[in-house]
């Protein structure tokens, strides 16, 4: 089934920012601070490097198989049966990730803002907005998210800038008090959430306009780098603000905004970062639902590509209400299990497909096994 709508390269870039930053702007770097301490920003940088590698494989697959999603690439490189298995694993991943994002919104609201309200209220309304957006199509989403990403980044950088008086650069030292293992631990977490998730972006590549493929790579690298810089900045600022206590602080950027007090004018800034959280999570949830729907449609070869949107959302909504028994369970699943799932399934699949694509091109170029320089 050929996608009909196409999105410009700059719109794809902003989709990539929304996809990568999403809700992580508020959650990161708390789990990394817990794992790596002062080296949280170093582990972010390392995992960003890993994410660039994944992105380069995604773009390579787009070059060798233009207009094909990950499922279609699997079909052509692995065969229909392995492709179906891969698609099932992807769907399972997305059935975990999407409810987790929305559960995060509900968790934020119930723990910080409106403690009396049950979480099903927030989750339901969030899913309502998400499913209606996805129903409107990728083009509408691309148009919306360009502006929403700008607003989200603007709010985030505003808070980071206004918190300048709170920063203590001396909190950045010592750099590796626990050695390399905490750094690797932080890298493992961040490689799964959020940088490794870019592997799933292969499902959106068919929507990129063919006419702009030359600019696409450049713009996607730039967008992904912007993500890395933003999260890195957030990690550094969090460490400089809270020092050794950074690992104990949930929603670091929110807590930073809470501390801002410049005269009588700049206070109560947490509402701004709350908006950024909801926007980021909303955009990421929309993209994940879109990918989930797309994967299901391609796996089952359905003709109506919007038929399953509501039942998928319904299942995901109930999953978001039942998956996590308590905050500790949430942390365990999201920061222990999920990174492993992303690395072992999503990223491994992309690496495998890229390797197979590269090999098949070599085989096609040199069918007799002769080298390039042979007479």
């Amino acid at each position: 089934m050929k996608p009909r709508e196409t999105v410009t390269s700059s719109q794809m870039a902003f989709l990539a920012i929304a996809f990568s930053i999403g809700s992580s702007i508020v959650y990161i770097p708390s789990p990394l601070e817990q794992a790596a301490g002062n080296a949280a920003w170093l582990s972010l940088a390392a995992s960003f490097g890993f994410g660039l590698l994944v992105l380069s494989c995604v773009l390579y697959l787009n070059r060798t198989h233009p207009g094909q999603s990950m499922v279609e690439c699997c079909r052509s490189l692995l065969g229909p049966a392995p492709a179906a298995v891969a698609a099932v694993f992807l769907i399972a991943m997305l059935f975990f990730a999407l409810p987790a994002i929305v559960a995060g919104i509900g968790d934020f609201q119930t723990s910080i803002v409106m403690k009396e309200t049950p979480d099903y209220v927030f989750n339901s309304f969030s899913f309502l907005a998400v499913v209606l957006t996805v129903r409107a199509g990728i083009l509408v989403m691309a148009r919306m998210f360009l502006l929403l990403v700008v607003v989200m980044l603007l709010f985030s950088f505003t808070v980071i800038l206004l918190a300048l008086p709170l920063y203590r650069p001396e909190y950045l030292l010592p750099l590796l008090p626990g050695g390399m293992k905490p750094l690797l631990h932080g890298t493992f977490i961040a490689s799964g959430f959020p940088f490794g998730e870019i592997a799933l972006f292969t499902m959106l590549m068919p929507y990129a306009a063919n006419s702009e493929s030359a600019k696409l790579n450049r713009r996607l690298y730039a967008a992904y780098s912007a993500t890395g810089v933003t999260l890195l900045l957030s990690a550094v600022c969090s460490t400089m603000t809270f020092g050794p206590a950074a690992g104990e602080v949930q929603f670091a950027l929110f807590r930073i905004s809470y501390e801002i007090q410049i005269g009588e004018l700049f206070q109560r800034m947490e509402a701004i970062i709350g908006i950024a959280l909801i926007l980021g999570s909303y955009m990421k949830a929309c993209l994940f639902l879109f990918i989930l729907n797309r994967t299901a449609v391609e796996l089952l070869r359905l003709r109506d590509d919007k038929a399953l949107l509501f039942p998928l959302s319904f299942v995901c909504l109930l999953l978001s209400l039942t998956m996590f028994r308590n905050p500790a369970d949430f942390n365990h699943q999201v920061y222990v299990i999920w990174p492993f799932i992303v690395l072992s399934t999503g990223c491994t699949l992309v690496f495998l497909l890229s390797a197979l694509a590269w090999l098949s091109r070599r085989t096609r170029s040199f069918p007799n096994g002769r080298s390039e320089n042979a007479p």
Binding site: A92, R301, L302, T322
Partner: protein, 80 residues
């Protein structure tokens, strides 16, 4: 439990109301897929209403990925 039952019912009715007309026009394969998802949704609704510790998706993922993930994390957490 009552509250959760009302919520789950309201959500189910909302989904069916939104998709009611479209359902009749769907091809047969889509209808079957919708039904399967509907069954999954009903199971999840039952979980939500009863809050019973029955098998859920995280348990499935834990069964597949949990072991290696926790061992890796333990290894990385262990002091050097």
């Amino acid at each position: 439990m009552q509250e959760n039952f009302i919520v789950a019912s309201a959500l189910l009715v909302a989904v069916l109301a939104a998709d009611g007309r479209r359902l009749k026009r769907l091809p047969r394969k889509e209808k079957w897929c919708y039904a399967v998802l509907g069954l999954a949704g009903l199971y999840m609704a039952l979980l939500f209403v009863s809050q019973a510790p029955w098998p859920n998706l995280p348990d499935l993922l834990h069964a597949v990925y949990g072991g290696p993930a926790e061992r890796l994390t333990q290894y990385l957490k262990a002091s050097g």
